[in-house]
Symmetry: C2
Subunit: 343 residues, 2 copies
C-alpha cells in the first residue's frame, strides 16, 4: 500500500503559498508566492497529509506581522501558517494511519509533512471535516475556555459577544445558553442578526451597522453585562464597556478593529469603566488551556451529536491560489460562519 501511495504522489506536485512580503494594511496578493513544488516524502516517525480544507482565521493577519506576539511571525519565504484538515496519505508513524482524518497547523498548501505534534484526529462521521476546523476545532475550544474559564460565565449572567456570527462568537453564545445565561450577539447586518436569534437561539442580536446600535444594545441588556467576549475592540468594545456591571469580566480573544490599522488606532476610550466597575479584562489564547482541550472537544462533540449546538461553515472554492482574497472576507465581514477554503 505504501509503495502505491508513494508512486501516486511522485507524479503529483504540491501547490504552496509562501509569505514573501509583510502586508501594510490589508493583505494583498503581492505578499505571497504561489508555486508548484515537489511533494515531499515523510521521514522516520513522520506522515504526510493530503489537505482537503484550510481554515481562515483572524489571527493570520498577526502571524504575518513582524514584532512581538504570542507566536513567532511567519518567516519571509516560509509557508503561510494555517490550520487545515485532511487525510493521511503516507505514514511512517504508527499513531497516524493512512486513511485517517486529521487537523493541525499544516499551512496553506496541498500536502504537509507532520510528526504528529499538535495534530488532532477528526471523525467525518460525527461532523463534516470543515466543522473540525470550526466549532469542534480551535474556534470552538477558544469559545469554550474564553467564556467559561476567562469570562467565568455562570447561570443568570448576561453574556455579550462581538463578531457573534463568526466561528468563535456563534459557539460562545450557544454555550452561554446551555449554561443558563442570557446571550446577546453583536453582528453586522440584519441577516446575521436574524440567524443568531432564529437559528442559534441567542436571546437578542444587535446590528453594529445600524444607526440605533447603542440604543438597541442598551435595550438588549436591560440588566447590564456580566461577561463580554471581545473579538473586535474599537467603538463596539467601548459601547459594551459602558454597559458592564460591577465585577464584570471581559475576555479578550481578538481585536479585529486594530489588526489592519496602518496608523495608531484611537484606542479604548472607555478605560474608566475598568476602574469604576472593577472589571477584570483578560487576554487569552486557546493554547494557554492546552491540557483541557481533549475534554472540551469531547463536550462540544457531545452537544453537537445531541443537536444542542450548531455550526455553520462558509466554504469557499478556488484552492490555495484564492487564499488572499478569501482571507480578506474576515476583515470586511464578507463571511457568514466559519470561513474555510477548499483545496
Amino acid at each position: 500500500m505504501a509503495a502505491i501511495s508513494q508512486k501516486e504522489t511522485m507524479m503529483t506536485m504540491n501547490r504552496v503559498v509562501r509569505l514573501i512580503e509583510r502586508p501594510v494594511g490589508m493583505v494583498t496578493r503581492s505578499c505571497f508566492s504561489f508555486e508548484d513544488e515537489a511533494v515531499a516524502e515523510p521521514g522516520e516517525g513522520e506522515f504526510r497529509v493530503k489537505i482537503e480544507c484550510i481554515s481562515l482565521d483572524p489571527a493570520m493577519r498577526g502571524w504575518m506581522a513582524e514584532g512581538k506576539s504570542y507566536v513567532e511571525p511567519v518567516a519571509l519565504g516560509g509557508v503561510m501558517r494555517a490550520f487545515a484538515a485532511g487525510v493521511v496519505d503516507a505514514s511512517n508513524n504508527s499513531q497516524f494511519q493512512v486513511g485517517e482524518y486529521v487537523t493541525g497547523l499544516f499551512g496553506v498548501q496541498q500536502f504537509a509533512i507532520s510528526d504528529g505534534n499538535g495534530v488532532t484526529k477528526a471523525n467525518p462521521e460525527v461532523a463534516p471535516l470543515e466543522a473540525w476546523l470550526g466549532g469542534l476545532g480551535m474556534p470552538g475550544w477558544t469559545a469554550y475556555f474564553g467564556l467559561l474559564d476567562v469570562g467565568e460565565a455562570k447561570a443568570g449572567d448576561t453574556v455579550v459577544v462581538s463578531a457573534a456570527s463568526g466561528a468563535v462568537g456563534s459557539v460562545v453564545g450557544q454555550i452561554a445558553k446551555l449554561k443558563g445565561c442570557r446571550a446577546v450577539g453583536i453582528a453586522g447586518g440584519p441577516e446575521k442578526c436574524a440567524y443568531l436569534v432564529d437559528e442559534l437561539g441567542f436571546d437578542a442580536a444587535v446590528d453594529y451597522r445600524a444607526d440605533d446600535f447603542f440604543a438597541t444594545l442598551k435595550a438588549a441588556t436591560p440588566d447590564g453585562v456580566d461577561v463580554y467576549f471581545e473579538n473586535v475592540g474599537g467603538d463596539i468594545g467601548d459601547a459594551v464597556l459602558s454597559r458592564m456591571n460591577t465585577f464584570g469580566r471581559v475576555a479578550v480573544c481578538g481585536l479585529i478593529a486594530y489588526y489592519n490599522a496602518t496608523s495608531a488606532p484611537d484606542g479604548m476610550k472607555n478605560v474608566r469603566s475598568i476602574l469604576v466597575n472593577r472589571l477584570k479584562m483578560q487576554g487569552f489564547i486557546v493554547f494557554d488551556f492546552a491540557k483541557g482541550i481533549p475534554a472540551a472537544m469531547a463536550e462540544l462533540a457531545e452537544w453537537y451529536r445531541e443537536g444542542k449546538i450548531k455550526f455553520r461553515q462558509d466554504v469557499r472554492e478556488g484552492g490555495v491560489d484564492a487564499y488572499p482574497e478569501v482571507l480578506n472576507l474576515l476583515y470586511t465581514s464578507g463571511n457568514f460562519g466559519k470561513l474555510v477554503l477548499k483545496v
Copy 2:
C-alpha cells in the same frame, strides 16, 4: 464631663464646605460654599468628632461628578465627602470614648457626627495622626490589596508603579521590596525620583517629564514588567503596557490622566498588549477588600514600627477654606507625599 463638653461646643461654630456646583475640568472655588453652621449634638448611639486633618484624595474629583461610579456622587448642597482624622469630643456611643482618635468619612468640615460606621481608631503614639490618613489608612490599604491581591506580586517579579511618590504609590513600592520584587517607580521630576530610590529603597525611578522617559523606563525594566500598579493611565500607562511580560497583571487603582478631561480622552492605545501578552487588567477599590483591612492595617503598622516602611506626609495649612486650591495640587503634581489639610 459630657455637660462641659456640650457647653464648650455650643459656643463653637462648624465651618462647612458644601458642593454647590459640579466642576467642569479642574475644580474651582465657585463649586463650593464655605459657611459657619451651628455645631450639631450627637444623637443616641452617635458621637462627635473634632476634625484635626482632612485627607485629599484623587478620587474626590470623581465623587463630585454626576453619573455612575463606585459610590454615589456627592449631592449638590451636601457636605463635600472626605476622609478625615480627629478626636472624639462628645459621645453617646460606648465604643467611642471622648479623647479617642479616629478616622472616617467625616467630610470637609470642622466637626462631624458619626454612628461609628466605617470609623477606624488611630493611635498617635504609633504614628502621627496624618499617617493614619496615609500609609496606615486607606492609601496604605489600597497599596496592600492592589499589589498583593489584584496584582498577585510574588518574589522575583518586576513591579512598576505610577504616581510612585504619592500616598498609595510610595507604599506599593516599599511593600514590593519587602516581598522580594524589583520595584520601579514613575514620578514627576528629579527630586521625587531621588526620594524613591534614596529614601524609600526603590530599585529605580523614572521621570515621566524627562525627554528620555521611555528609554529610561526600558532600561529600568530589563526583564520586562510583571505587575503594573496603575494610578494614572494616559501615555504613561501605554508606555508601561508595552513593557509587560506574558501573563502580567495590571492593577487599575486610578486614572488621574482622565479625571479632569473635558473632551473625550485619547484612551488606551496599547490595547493589543492585553491580548498579545495575555494580561489580566483589573480595576479595584479598597472597599472590595473590607474584611481584610484590620489584618492589612496591623501588618502595615508592624512594618512601620520596625522601620521597614516610611510614610511621607505633605501637610498644608489654611483650614477647610483652602480645600479647592490644596486639592488641585494632586492633579498638577504639586504635592510630595500624602496630601493632608490641617483644620
